[in-house]
Symmetry: D2
Subunit: 349 residues, 4 copies
């Protein structure tokens, strides 16, 4: 739509789309509003729309993903999680333990990550575990502790929903619903997340391509929830010096193809405490909009993932260093944009 | 338990296990019955059980998986799917289209694969698709067509359950519930399958290790369903001449560690029609207990996976060739067992 | 060229190619001779050749590889190694220890594999080792022991050349020069092998695609040596139940694109003794023209790769079983060719 | 050796090592000199050395690599390439075209990367190419052009040696000998590089583990050349949004285990021009000691790798941004070291 399009213009276009038997998706941007169409089997003639008032352009999308594509919505999406703007100018920092273990543990964690400048608190109440005999999370009790930590610290909450059965409960307590890597192609769960009004943090599956990652997000958007944050957390390769291979190149690759923000999880992405700090810095330098980091008040006694969790004092340094890099790059980018650099080949070579 | 243990002996051991707060799992074998214990946090003293009548041995299991392990149950498990013994002496052949598309299509397919000697019919009524806009299956209508095909041909039915929501419906119609590769670590779905009384066909995830594969099966057994068939369907690698890399070495690897039968899917495992026949033969030669193969009466018009589906006449040749190899190897193995070969190094080298 | 083309016709075509500044490659087949052209930068007009006597067709090759392509030479290449026809009707079996360790060890090995029906003896005199401090092979002393084993048993010799420096020595003693997986893209070594008159066994690199594998063979053919045997020996993946993941689907994939024979190494391809037998059978069933297997008279005392070497008595069973499968498939294929099966879709579906 | 050890003390220890039939490796560090021992088959009793004058400690090395290990030499190695200290405080920037194509092209490139602040010029005179029919480099002519560029600009030269045959020529002209990824396990070439007196830049093979990478460096050091720079250039995975997956976590992993400096190649590591800048920044943030970047005056006309080469003006921005991050992190690290942060768990959690 044109920047000058009125709400009535937008409503008219949506009505037209519905009258053709398709589904309209209104996605407001900073400058103008995009309206995606899904449900069509084959191309829709642009002329049907371009004469309507307020329509700037009708663009057929050439990719398998539509609503997540920059072709549909050129402006970056900024996702608001309890007041933290993920994808905005400021670096978003989400931190906390792998699992909520006790009331005390999560409160101490929340205070520590808040003190270090995190805006969001992570912590699993429902844990997808490789073994049926491993600790599976505290369930609703854990969700209540998270809510208590939010009440005390003001941090927004990010916690995982592992199935449709327990989704309602998670949705009720959390500020942002995490979909884990193992569930990236659990399409029923994606659909349920798409019908939520809460933002969704979608982690890349451990052997999924970029196209599959974007298609998984498309499932959520296609149900009407456009508040999706993508997250790289390492892929599975032959390399054995880390638990997973953190594929930071997916950060600029996502940013080129999609308007959705992408953050990085250097904790699962490396699986080793001493690799978290350098890879967190690298993620910020590569342009990630934020980080999600495992921090535990006493990692050696953690019920899960202790070996990759930071001590609170380590997270403090990490947060400082990451913000310093983020600030530096934002300033440099601002002056570069002012200069308007031009790229030219050398003639005759 | 000893081969001579009475049902009362077994009941006594189970009662003892329950009295300690643990969970007993009775797994009858061809020669003797094994009883698994889960729910213990740490080792259970063998002496607690070895004095009970009928107990042969109490074996602490050293692997993360317990109930699927050969340490617990040395005899091969044979899973009965509508009269077809998967894991028994005869090769199990399951074939049919990727998706149930029409009543006519599934009936024609069923007759064709029956004529070629298949015992089981495959066909998806609920399809997990990478794109939210792709054909998602006929749902219960598809299940009814499958049931009709069974009624006409006598073939057992194998079809996929993709979520807990539609599980009851699938369970009602099918003879064997398939859990697809993308859901191999959908632990809620595995638990639901574990509470079913129908056999389960569990496909290996596209980047899961053998241990993760066996742990996924353990989820099903830990809920009380011991009728699990494992299935290799190709893993994701850098190689680009096939859609996935069929990892046949997992067949003998599973057989060494677990009592569960393993079959192979050469259709998804290669993603190319002309590779299905050679890889099906290879799977049988490697010792697989069966095959699951995509066959479509008119592959070029299939709604999904047509490029990897066999023509019925191709499947007929494949089935013949596979049975011939299976027969050959069974006969050779029988004579080898009679001879009782001895393996000795050459002294002094 | 036509089947009726005379040697003079062939010479004329070659002269014509040379007069244009290109390089002719004469590759005689069972029925007719192909002449490849390399050195051209861009397409060569077919009309330049199609009017010459004896020319059947001038085919522009659309693949990056030319001389290895079936487009250039539709007939299978059969490589003669000391009387063993690799790529012919009979299964080629090459076996022996990883390294030549002592005169006694290689002689005992040679007798054992000969007794089991192998036609070729393997054994490394120069070993590429990950560590500079590991046993690097006996060098020329090892080559002499191999020659002695050949003299006694009549087996052809296959041994590895690891660099241009020691190539002449290896070439002098061996019947077939092996290029190892780590050297698959050592282009200087490939060129040297291309200038040899001895057959070459080229192993696939552990993370090389099919195209790269064929291009490596193209290096050898482009220098004038058309006697190349390809060998699959496992690729590197995330899977950890075997040392490498044996990619048997490359066997039919090579056979579709190239006229060169392909064999399989189930010893390096699995890295575990108990997986060698099932994967050897699988390789034969997939259509491999032969096997190369590590056999050691006393694997526990081997200086390298003992854990994946078979005992001689195990190899005997393996060889018997593989020949039985090979015979079975050859017979079935012969009758199938007689029947001339037709593939048809079912109308209306 | 102690910091106070005299040259005579060092000579005495070496003589003692030689008298035992082993090989001494003297590696001077900033504070003290380490002496490695190789050639021993089994442990050497520490007591043999600890009583000699100047000896601080005799440490048995538990890793398969010895001379590259931090256990042997705790201080970082700084490699001097024509005055550029790789591994020192300042970021090392090496840039230039993939191949030397013409005199003009390399001179223009050299001036451009010099102007942007690079200290080293890259450019291949001998190119390992997948196809025998692709441009293979200018050979010695290319080396002469590189030397001319050095004479004019003062930049040090880094160029690849692809085989032992042409090694002498490369060694004569270059300041640093590059060993490419495909040759990382070309052990004869590594040995030849180990006998050179010029520094070596060793690239990680595309599917090699960290241990294999360090063992390849060990080959070079074991021959007496301790001036080795390691380079991460991407590994091969299933991911298809970049040509290779840049594994930045190997940077801190190398730094933990080895004293050798490690740099990163974001050009081959991504294979896409628009990913080079973000991944270069990420590499510096992860702690890399330098970068090697493809820059071409006119990428669209490059004879190789044009699609991943930067325009000179893009490299200028990259170099500025990378130095800014490097400076920032060095300053922050310096103040952190002053503060001497302490890591403590929270008691009782």
């Amino acid at each position: 739509m044109r920047a000058t399009a009125s709400p009535q213009d937008i409503a008219n276009v949506c009505a037209k789309i519905q009258s053709l038997g398709f589904r309209p998706h209104v996605m407001p941007g900073a400058e103008r509003t995009a309206i995606g169409i899904t449900g069509n089997h084959g191309p829709v003639p642009p002329a049907e729309f371009e004469d309507l008032p307020g329509v700037a352009e009708a663009i057929p999308v050439s990719k398998p993903y539509k609503l997540v594509s920059r072709e549909v919505k050129p402006d970056n999406t900024v996702v608001d999680v309890a007041g933290c703007a993920v994808g905005g100018a400021e670096l978003a920092l989400c931190a906390g333990p792998c699992s909520v273990e006790t009331r005390e543990q999560i409160l101490v964690s929340a205070r520590a990550v808040k003190a270090a400048g995190a805006q969001l608190l992570r912590g699993g109440a429902y844990k997808p575990r490789t073994s049926p005999y491993a600790f599976q999370g505290l369930g609703e009790e854990g969700l209540r502790y998270l809510a208590e930590a939010r009440a005390e610290t003001g941090l927004g909450i990010v916690t995982e929903a592992i199935d449709v059965e327990t989704f309602d409960l998670v949705e009720k307590y959390t500020d942002c619903i995490q979909i884990g890597a193992r569930n990236m192609q659990n399409f029923s769960l994606l659909r349920r997340a798409g019908r939520s009004r809460k933002p969704v943090l979608l982690k890349r599956g451990m052997s999924n391509t970029l196209d599959e990652f974007l298609m998984a997000a498309e499932y959520i958007l296609s149900e009407g929830n456009y508040q999706v944050i993508l997250c790289e957390r390492g892929v599975r390769t032959f390399a054995d010096h880390t638990r997973n291979t953190l594929d930071l190149s997916v950060v600029p690759a996502v940013q080129r193809l999609s308007h959705l923000p992408i953050i990085v999880d250097p904790s699962h992405g490396t699986g080793k405490r001493d690799k978290v700090h350098p890879m967190a810095l690298a993620a910020v330098a590569a342009g990630a909009s934020g980080l999600i980091v495992e921090v535990h008040p006493n990692p050696d006694r953690a019920l899960s993932d202790g070996y990759q969790s930071l001590y609170p004092s380590q997270f403090e340094v990490l947060a400082d260093d990451c913000r310093a890099i983020s600030d530096l790059l934002r300033k440099r980018k601002a002056s570069a944009d002012l200069l308007g650099r031009v790229i030219l080949p050398v003639a005759g070579i």
